[in-house]
Amino acid sequence: MHELSIAQNIVELATEAATRANAERVMAVKLLVGRLAGIEPGALLFSYEIAAQGTILEGSRLEIVHVPLVVWCAHCLKEVELDSVQRLRCPTCGTPCGEIRRGRELDIESLEIEP
């Protein structure tokens, strides 16, 4: 359970960015979470509320945008989206696909701030 330390990182980075933008309050944080990021959204939302207390993020929304797992298929010569993180095989041709193009993201995309 490392979601609390992840939540603290989010609050810290968002505070820095909001302060740079001369904001007084953060209303929402948009977070990209890849399928392979190893994050449990429920635990993160719970931790976020605690980590935001007493900061300019207190009471703000954490909007989690899920990023699918996308791999490169060397046989079809294209990027393919996978439904499962347990089976890294091209859904069309069955080729094992070890090259991950998307799905490891754990990034703050944007903030909604006031004023």
């Binding site: 980075l13 190893g38 095989r89 909604e112």
Partner: protein
């Protein structure tokens, strides 16, 4: 009435750890020390495996050291020190993983230039350590025959982040009715093409293959580092 606005941020949440890990990796490359991060569940046998690895390397004159992470106690560092290699304990006091910052803080007493290998035994946990780069050159995920062949399917993030899968306690395979094919298929399913080794730290089976792989990985790493012009030792 107040107005809200959107600001683009686009920053990795683990930016601080990633930056520290990059700096560590550079430091390891400059010193010529090959760093291995061992990850697994609690009870897979990381410490026994590492103890045997260190003892064998020490006897062969290889210069090795180990850092070991646990929530509490220095029992594992004491066990590892029996090998004759310097070993230091990192107590995380509740944290479920090691971070790059902790590694940096524990390196000060050692001259990295005097080491060939540094092993980092992570906290026993197959979830959280996956996200934290420690600046290692090789990540080994261990899985024992007593744990169930589908463990890689249950923890795909960790197995996907590793470079080598190590099946431990192989001397117990028969007693546990370990299904080797199922385990290999599970590993290959979450991380196609990953090297898989089998080892018994107790009996010594598989240790030679592991040490060969370790040496080969270090040599190819040295070539890459030398190509990037970073290692003084590889300079002509």
């Amino acid at each position: 009435m107040t107005t809200t606005r959107i600001v683009e941020v686009r920053v990795g949440v683990l930016k601080k750890n990633d930056e520290l890990a990059r700096a560590l990796r550079r430091r390891f490359e400059e010193a010529g020390v090959f760093v291995v991060n061992l990850v697994s569940s609690p009870g897979t046998g990381k410490t026994a495996f590492l103890e045997r690895t260190l003892s064998t390397l020490v006897v062969s004159g290889t210069r090795v050291a180990a850092l070991v992470g646990d929530l509490e106690t220095d029992n594992d560092a004491q066990r590892l020190a029996r090998s004759g290699a310097p070993a230091r304990q990192i107590n995380t006091h509740g944290r479920c993983h090691l971070e790059a910052e902790m590694i940096g803080a524990f390196l000060d007493e050692w001259d990295l230039n005097e080491l060939d290998y540094l092993f980092i035994e992570n906290v026993g946990n197959l979830v959280c350590p996956a996200s934290y780069d420690l600046g290692e050159a090789l990540r080994v995920a261990l899985l024992s025959v007593t744990e169930g062949e589908d463990k890689p399917l249950k923890y795909p993030t960790m197995f996907n982040s590793a470079d080598v899968a190590m099946i431990t306690k192989i001397d117990l395979a028969e007693a546990c009715e370990f299904d080797r094919d199922a385990a290999y298929a599970a590993i290959d399913s979450v991380r196609p093409g990953m090297s898989i080794l089998e080892v018994s730290a107790k009996r010594g089976a598989g240790m030679d293959e592991w040490l060969v792989l370790l040496r080969e990985r270090r040599e190819s790493w040295q070539r890459v580092v030398a190509g990037a012009g970073r290692s003084p030792r590889m300079a002509p």
